[in-house]
Symmetry: C2
Subunit: 184 residues, 2 copies
Amino acid sequence: MTMATVNNGVNVQALLDAREALKGAPEAAQFTWRASCKWQDGTHSTTKVGGFFGLGQEQQHKTETSFEADHPEIFASADKGITPIEYVLVGLASCLTAGIAAVAQNRGVQLNSVESQLEGKMDIRGILGMDSDVRNGYDDIKVTFKIDADAPRKEIEAIVAQSQKRSAVYDIIANPVNVSVEVV
Amino acid sequence: MTMATVNNGVNVQALLDAREALKGAPEAAQFTWRASCKWQDGTHSTTKVGGFFGLGQEQQHKTETSFEADHPEIFASADKGITPIEYVLVGLASCLTAGIAAVAQNRGVQLNSVESQLEGKMDIRGILGMDSDVRNGYDDIKVTFKIDADAPRKEIEAIVAQSQKRSAVYDIIANPVNVSVEVV
């Protein structure tokens, strides 16, 4: 049986077991992901990600990670990190890619390589407040995958489509999310 | 005049000049932000951000930056990076924070410190495909700012509100964005 030799590094059985376990305990499926941000200077900030809540208790990543964000020099900033909207592309790329690996594993398809290019188009007259008809964020995001896998093109396309259908970040970008901002 | 002493590190004049310049050249306001992603193993991927297009030509960040993303160990993954949806929080935090610095500078308000906590709530039964009524992404994101600035609370709240109103990442999350995914 060829499926036994497929190894994309995703433990699908553990995910199927989790699904079974959560059927009897839906409250364990309620997760809270967190980040804490500190302004440095100008448009430069540092955001840390370490702990989160899930499966009914506090959880910790192996390590806390810090991320620098800034605006580029052409906006008269110091470019001490990528821009906030580029972080959105990082999230989308990694979410779809992880999903492709998981779906391929579940369908018994060996992946050899998965690469993607992302492009987000934006008219900066929006954030500059020049034209109220121009939105602040991306007008359009295009993701292009190049995949080498032991499967026909049609099956690869179906794996990508299923990953998109179950992607948390795709959902967040493509559909509205309620965001509340408050000052304490 | 007190405004002359306010320094949040944001070159507001350069932004106002850019706004003037773009009035006569709207095509220069068309930006394309990019990322390229490579699957590593399992749910682990590496995304690089370096170049982008804007002001009518190719641009480069001072350095190309790599970002690791993975799922945590409680999802039977290796936790070699933060999760894709946590990257969305990094983007939102840094976008609102940069905006606060810029708006405060423009309004002559000296910031002493700006810190924020972000929480995104998610029911993972969505991404596990357990219940079609449960969405994949965040149900709700809460951002809480703690700001020390030389201004009354009301003025600080107005600065945060203006930052939110002009935030690219807030717009991307709160409103729908068209995303196309293809395989070449």
